[in-house]
């Protein structure tokens, strides 16, 4: 065999990086094509987006704030993938976290400092329980988590919607929500009058912690083993069931934190539309990061910049925000199958090369 050395790890990492970079570039390119077809100038649009998100302190702050919830859900998805589980239930787990943290923040008085921490934790636990339930369905009943995740999303969003529309809704309020949380439960804003709260720090810390957990702890070792080869893991005495449950609990907890961050930091309550697909947006974030927790930090920031820029741009011009969503979706497509980019390119290249040699040999006929 090719008894290779430590180079293998580095080249492996590099190839993930180049794959992600290529995917992002291709996605931006195709997105640019679409926006051009829509009558805008490719260059102008991207310039405006990056200027919006990076050109002012307000923009940068918004970028970081936007990155926060998807950093959590991206991390959650990455944790699941490592064990071989596609967690489709992140959205529901996020809602659980948002609701429970808001309720703890609103109804259970606690001293300052403690309250917000406990509320966040409660949100994490709620999300984690929802994830564990999914795991239990798989381990105990063999129910495919892909389907149960979707079902639980609907059940949870419907149920929380009911709660925020009826029993838990404060009087004299228009939209569906719960009562406002106490001040002691609010997340501290890193920048006043912005959406950037300490949740951002928590998200980064979580990514680092999870990365550390995966590499340095025995649980990380076991989860990696199960994800790579469940059969050999079983022979080695590692219980895949337990690892699935653990992974889904952690994954759900991350989504729960995403919800908590939104409820305690931005909305100061649970609202019916606390998330519009942020759970699912964890998938492109994780995919671009090669499902690596540290990579999720960078990936989430990148998407945060794009989304914040699009928001800013949308406020001043008519450039629609959604095209960033399109770019996000394209990223998943291109990261999943880089061949989609490389094969057409290679095909065109070969055609050009063939035509070159054809004319060449015609010129130098035998």
């Amino acid at each position: 065999m090719n008894g290779n050395t430590g180079k293998s790890k580095l080249s492996g990492r590099f190839s993930i990086f180049s794959r992600s970079a290529a995917a992002l570039l291709a996605a931006l390119l195709i997105g640019g094509v679409i926006i051009t077809l829509g009558g805008y100038s490719f260059v102008d649009v991207y310039a405006a987006i990056f200027k919006g998100s990076l050109g002012s302190s307000r923009g940068i702050v918004l970028s970081l704030a936007t990155a926060t919830p998807i950093m959590f859900t991206g991390l959650g998805f990455a944790i699941g993938i490592k064990v071989g589980i596609v967690n489709t239930g992140l959205e529901g787990q996020l809602y659980m976290g948002a609701l429970v943290s808001a309720l703890v923040g609103a109804y259970i008085p606690m001293p300052a400092g403690v309250h917000v921490v406990v509320s966040m934790l409660a949100g994490a636990v709620a999300g984690g329980l929802a994830g564990t339930l999914m795991g239990w369905f798989r381990v105990q009943f063999g129910a495919p988590e892909v389907i149960t995740g979707i079902m639980m999303n609907s059940i949870i969003t419907l149920f929380t919607s009911y709660l925020s529309n009826d029993p838990l809704k404060p009087p004299n309020v228009g939209s569906a929500q719960t009562i406002q949380i106490k001040e002691t439960a609010e997340l501290i804003k890193l920048v006043p009058k912005s959406q950037l709260t300490t949740a951002f720090i928590v998200a980064i810390v979580m990514c680092i912690l999870v990365y550390w957990m995966q590499r340095k702890t025995v649980w990380g070792y076991k989860m990696t083993a199960v994800g790579l080869n469940p059969r050999a893991s079983m022979v080695a005495g590692i219980s895949s069931s337990r690892m699935y449950l653990l992974a889904l609990a952690l994954s759900g907890a991350m989504a729960g934190l995403a919800g908590s961050g939104l409820a305690l930091g931005i909305f100061k309550r649970f609202i019916e539309s606390v998330s519009n697909g942020l759970g699912f947006q964890g998938i492109p974030v994780s995919a671009l990061a090669g499902h690596n927790p540290l990579g999720v930090i960078v990936s989430a920031l990148l998407f945060g910049v794009l989304k914040a820029g699009a928001t800013m741009v949308n406020q001043s011009t008519s450039i629609p925000y959604e095209f960033v969503d399109v770019v996000q979706a394209l990223v998943v497509v291109f990261v999943a199958a880089p061949a989609i980019i490389t094969e057409p390119v290679r095909f065109i290249y070969r055609k050009i090369a063939d035509r070159g040699t054809a004319s060449g040999s015609a010129a130098g006929a035998k």
Binding site: N4, S8, K9, T224, L228
Partner: protein, 511 residues
């Protein structure tokens, strides 16, 4: 009339010659048994006839005319059908649906003509006495019945030549008898049949003619069962070569019983007994070897004594203490397991050599403290293992799949042997390895035993089991046929025992 002639067939694979100028012929209306050990080349030869493989040299003649078979559809068009060892059926479909899928009778060219399909399938069932309900779902049928559905598929396609690959491997003795009746029936109706097998019983009971392959070469193709006996056939299959007894290292000191298994019964998912109540002991300083052809219960035995399955019944004692539970408990009690299949069960290919060396022992105090992996120590541990066990790997961080087969096996051995174990349970330890690696691994096993430990060795390689064991057991269809001193029987006799002959019958054939 000669139906098929395949002269001088040669097929090479990287590193090995599967077939070396083999002549094959098939007459109309005969049952031929293609006999040989595992790896003799029988399946490869038939895959060539069925169009699944292409020969490097040699041709195929059908009724005297040269033909080119490049894929199974060509073969099927000529009436050649193969019934694979692993059935190609859809359990949720009915018998009729399974038989007609791909070649359905049509009504208005799009709809399935259910009536015609049922009629034809029922006709065939009737004609050949298959005795199955055409509307039954295949998942509700017994294995023997499912096999008949596979044969039905071939007959429905007007197969004139039927190739059966190890047909009795999955059947109970009763089902085997039923199969023989079916085959004879088919022959009466003019079908020609080739049975790929290593079982002498099938050959003797049902074949008109026997063709023996050994190590890719044709030994004889004109043997008539009536004119020969099991001993002669075994000799042809296995060769007169004697086992090299020089490399034996019998134990110098055998102590009291260390590992004891009583009343082991293992049933498979369908409730069929794969291990039919066996008991055995292994002593300190002893290697107990299980010889036998794969598929006779070895896997189930291994799974039971390493905690991978919970057997129907088992009383296992190690060093005087009862042992039960899952793999975790067995590993912690000092059962060192070197699994049957190193790449799917023994190693995690994409993990580093270092990580693979601690697999199974990852939460032991020297590897893991307070749930934190001690990677620096682990690296040192891995490098020590690598050096001590002569694994050719410059970097223990490299993924284990970058190693050769021999080195991969050494990693597994190192993992297990570098820890205090009470008993080594090792299966097919040198499969696919070169001579140097084989010698090294055998020596490691001897060294382990000489520390006063026990070894349970299972191998399909008869030479290996005989050379290594202090005491030998032959496993056949889940039962221990004989327990003996490895030097007692000749290789041919052992080959006979491995195919189910009784010790008494074999004793007469002393060689």
């Amino acid at each position: 009339m000669e139906l098929i002639k395949m002269p001088q067939i040669t097929k090479q694979y990287p590193g090995t010659t599967a077939l070396d100028k083999v002549d094959f012929r098939l007459e109309e209306g005969e049952i031929v048994s293609l006999l040989g050990e595992n790896g003799a080349g029988k399946t490869t030869l038939m895959k060539i006839l069925y169009g699944m493989e292409m020969p490097d040299e040699g041709e195929i003649y059908y009724k005297g005319k040269r033909v080119n078979l490049t894929n199974p559809n060509d073969a099927i068009a000529m009436g050649i059908c193969m019934v694979h060892q692993h059935f190609m059926l859809v359990p949720a479909f009915t018998v009729v649906e399974n038989v007609i899928a791909g070649i359905e009778p049509r009504k208005k060219s799009v709809f399935v003509d259910q009536k015609a399909a049922r009629r034809r399938v029922a006709e065939l069932i009737e004609k050949y006495n298959f005795n199955i309900n055409p509307f039954a779902r295949v998942e509700s049928l017994s294995v023997g019945e499912q096999q008949r559905v596979e044969i039905l598929k071939a007959l429905y396609r007007d197969a004139r030549i039927l190739i059966l690959d190890e047909p009795s491997a999955v059947l109970t003795p009763y089902e085997v008898d039923e199969l023989f009746v079916t085959l004879k029936n088919l022959r009466e109706q003019g079908t020609s049949i080739v049975i790929i097998t290593h079982k002498l019983r099938e050959t003797m009971d049902v074949a008109d003619r026997v063709m023996v392959l050994r190590n890719g070469r044709l030994i004889r193709d004109d043997v008539v069962p009536a004119d020969t006996n099991a001993l002669e056939l075994s000799e042809m299959m296995v060769g007169r070569r004697l086992i090299n007894m020089d490399s034996r290292q019998p134990s110098q000191k055998i102590g009291p019983v260390k590992f004891s298994v009583k009343n082991l019964v293992v049933k498979d998912s369908r409730g069929v007994e794969k291990i039919k109540n066996i008991s055995f002991d292994i002593r300190e300083g002893e290697i107990l070897g299980f010889a036998g052809i794969e598929g006779n219960g070895q896997t189930q035995l291994l799974e039971a004594v390493t905690g991978l399955i919970t057997p129907e019944s088992m009383e296992l004692t190690l060093n005087g203490e009862r042992l039960s539970g899952k793999a975790r408990e067995f590993i912690d009690s000092g059962v060192g397991h070197v699994p049957e299949d190193r790449s799917t069960m023994g190693l995690i290919s994409n993990m580093s050599i270092k990580s693979n060396l601690i697999l199974g022992y990852h939460d032991y105090p020297d590897i893991c403290k307070n749930k934190l992996m001690r990677w620096k120590d682990i690296k040192g541990y891995a490098e020590h293992c690598r050096d001590f066990y002569q694994v050719k790997a410059p970097d223990v961080e490299a993924p284990v799949r970058s190693l050769s087969g021999g080195n991969q096996q050494k990693v597994i051995m190192a993992r297990v042997l570098n820890r205090p174990q009470e008993i080594l349970v090792v299966a097919h330890p040198t499969r696919g390895l070169d001579v140097g690696a084989i010698e090294y691994i055998h020596q490691q096993i001897f060294n382990f035993r000489d520390q006063g430990k026990a070894v349970l060795l299972i191998s399909a390689e008869l030479d290996e089991v005989v050379q290594m064991s202090d005491r030998l057991m032959v496993l056949y269809e889940g039962e221990i046929v004989v327990e003996c001193d490895p030097e007692k029987y000749s290789k041919i006799q052992l080959g006979l025992l491995m195919t189910g002959q009784s010790p008494d019958a074999v004793k007469e054939a002393r060689l």
